[in-house]
């Protein structure tokens, strides 16, 4: 390696939809570096490109142009299965809609990523239990999502993202469906994970309150980065 790279490096990344007249430039030349252990909030109005950027960072989508390096791997050169492997080994996702499997216990939901990593059954349960304990739900392991509150569901989703011990936690509007008390609860959990476990967190949100929990705030507008500022950690 010629130089030591950051955990995440985007250089000149474009994402265009459609062609000709109707072409939409969702991302229009993004350069971004994120180091290990950061807690980054990506902000912007809807249509600003923040979700598109998130999808590319999460290896769910590919840029139209530009380069993306994740943990020294040039993502833009990889085939489709390579993206899946990166998701498997580096990234944990937390979504706005929780996206837990219905009628499936919290424990089984958390075990799911380990199934695809071919972790043996006994080991799977042990690690899922540890992840659930980390989010404070060790007494709810047999509950199905419908038996849990929104905050608890999101904590199960966070446990599911953490169970693989990923480098990066990608959170897409993690508090979008929660009231302010639950928002506080989930954000404090994320903050604590970042501080205690050193896990890198990239979070998309449009609420300044939520963003204020992060150590760095990046604002998108019209497919470009408007501002990138470090900020005081929220108490």
């Amino acid at each position: 390696m010629a130089q030591s790279r950051s955990l995440i490096e985007l250089s000149g990344v474009h994402k265009h939809y459609g062609e000709g007249e109707s072409e939409v430039r969702a991302l229009d030349g993004i350069d971004l570096r994120i180091e290990r252990g950061e807690f980054v909030a990506i902000m912007g109005a809807s249509g600003s490109g923040k979700s598109t950027c998130m999808n590319i960072l999460g290896c769910l989508d590919r840029p139209t142009a530009g380069e993306y390096h994740l943990a020294d791997v040039k993502v833009t050169d990889l085939p489709g299965d390579g993206l899946t492997m990166l998701r498997r080994h580096y990234i944990g996702f937390v979504f706005q809609g929780f996206n837990l499997l219905a009628r499936t216990s919290a424990l089984e939901n958390v075990e799911l990523p380990l199934v695809y990593r071919r972790v043996p059954r006994a080991k799977r349960e042990e690690r899922a239990l540890r992840a659930l304990a980390l989010v404070g739900l060790e007494d709810r392991i047999d509950h199905a999502p419908s038996q849990l509150s929104g905050g608890q569901q999101q904590r199960v989703a966070i446990a599911r993202a953490l169970v693989t011990e990923p480098e990066i936690l990608m959170a897409d509007e993690p508090t979008g469906n929660l009231d302010s008390a639950r928002t506080q609860e989930v954000m404090e959990l994320l903050q604590q994970l970042n501080r205690d476990s050193g896990i890198t967190i990239v979070m998309v949100t449009h609420e300044p309150d939520v963003a204020s929990f992060a150590k760095r705030s990046i604002v998108f507008r019209d497919g470009q980065i408007l501002s990138d500022t470090p900020q005081e950690e929220h108490a």
């Binding site: 769910l60 899946t84 998701r87 498997r88 809609g97 996206n99 499997l101 009628r103 071919r118």
Partner: protein, 403 residues
């Protein structure tokens, strides 16, 4: 991985029990129908074969005259068969086990105040051997009785039931036509023959007694020939034909004036027809199995749409498209195989009761059971492929956004 996926598929099926059962129903009915129809069809075939076998194994029946298609019945001009013909066959034809000449007539039989009309056959003990009759009680004819044409008789179980009801007929005297006749033996019941005639409705007497005292001539109506086991009945029939043509002076170019019926040949024809019919029924039932498969495909496609978010989650957390595909393919296969197993059970139980109701033997058809099982699994793979591929090709971003 494959076990984890099968486990996942099973849980998915259990999670939506009613829908799974309805999905399986098509395959259950298809497999059940195939098994039931083929089993009953084979039972019918076995029954027909058995019935024909009851007439006597490797049996050739020679009679004078020919059956003409025009409806003229037996040729009138044909000279009758004689006892010498039977003796010549016994002496000169290779591959013959036993020969029985029979003078046949019918007469009223009377005992006490019971009476009935039945067929009276005049022959000797080889008749029982050739026609596969066994004595239940009493005895067959003694040498002296056969030679002298004594008035003794062996009766079938139908005659016994009509005349004696439950009483012991042995030693009793019945009237056959105009002659008094002592019952010396009772035959084991053979039941109905393939064409519906009652094989137990008969009285057998020594040939001379029938010829002298009932028919009044020394004609014989039939010669029953048992071909030796392992000797083709066709070959023996050809030898018989050659001998009889010679004895009856049929020169080259003239048609036979006698008929040889080959039971084995008849049996083959009837079983062949029955087997073909069974195959046809099975094929029709197999169509419903395909329809069942389409039902599975239908539900699986709906299921993929319904579970789009779930598929998105799985893809996002690191499942390969191929793993999602395997999951849906296994779900379809497990459904169809389960349906197949249930269908096999229903089919077997159904055909067991159907066979009992139609008094056919219950024939277990292991080949069809195995075939149905494999086929039902295959149905899942084939019809699960399209929905599974649809699931695997979903874009995770789109899938996660799906409501």
């Amino acid at each position: 991985m494959i076990w984890a996926t099968i486990f996942m598929a099973l849980r998915e099926i259990r999670r939506n029990t009613l829908r799974s059962v309805l999905t399986m129903l098509g395959v259950v009915i298809g497999v059940g129908a195939v098994i039931a129809l083929v089993s009953v069809g084979r039972g019918a075939t076995a029954k027909v074969t058995e019935d024909i076998g009851k007439l006597g194994k490797n049996l050739l029946t020679v009679s004078a005259g020919t059956f003409s298609r025009g409806g003229g019945g037996m040729g009138i001009s044909a000279p009758p068969l004689r006892i010498d013909d039977a003796n010549a066959i016994r002496r000169d034809v290779l591959g013959v086990d036993a020969v029985a000449a029979a003078a046949a007539s019918s007469a009223q039989v009377i005992y006490g105040n019971s009476n009935q009309r039945t067929s009276v056959t005049g022959s000797d003990n080889s008749f029982f051997q050739v026609r596969a009759y066994v004595v239940e009680k009493g005895r067959l004819f003694s040498r002296a009785e056969t030679q002298s044409g004594a008035a003794s008789c062996v009766i079938g179980s139908t005659v016994r039931a009509n005349l004696f009801q439950a009483r012991d007929p042995i030693g009793e005297t019945i009237r056959v036509g105009t002659i008094a006749c002592q019952v010396v033996g009772l035959l084991v019941s053979k039941g109905q023959a393939g064409m519906g005639q009652d094989q137990d409705d008969l009285v057998v007497m020594p040939m001379r007694a029938v010829q002298r005292r009932i028919t009044g001539n020394d004609n014989i109506q039939s010669i029953f020939v048992a071909a030796r086991e392992g000797e083709g009945t066709g070959v023996v029939a050809d030898r018989l034909r050659a001998l009889l043509r010679q004895r009856r002076h049929r020169s080259e170019g003239l048609d036979d004036d006698f008929t040889i019926r080959d039971m084995a040949e008849i049996a083959e024809t009837v079983t062949g027809a029955s087997t073909a019919l069974t195959a046809l029924l099975g094929a029709i039932a197999a169509v419903s199995l395909v329809v069942g498969g389409i039902g599975i495909m239908n539900i699986m496609l709906v299921s993929v749409t319904e579970r789009t978010r779930e598929i998105g989650i799985r893809l996002a957390i690191g499942a390969f498209g191929s793993e999602v595909m395997l999951q849906f393919l296994l779900e379809a296969t497990v459904l169809s195989t389960l349906g197949g197993v249930i269908g096999i059970c229903f089919g077997l139980v159904g055909s067991y009761f159907a066979a009992n109701a139609m008094s056919l033997p219950f024939v277990l058809a292991p080949d069809i059971v195995a075939l149905s099982f494999v086929f039902s699994a295959l149905v899942g793979v084939v019809f699960g492929y399209l929905p599974a591929r649809k699931a695997a090709n979903l874009d995770p971003i789109e899938a996660l956004r799906h409501e």
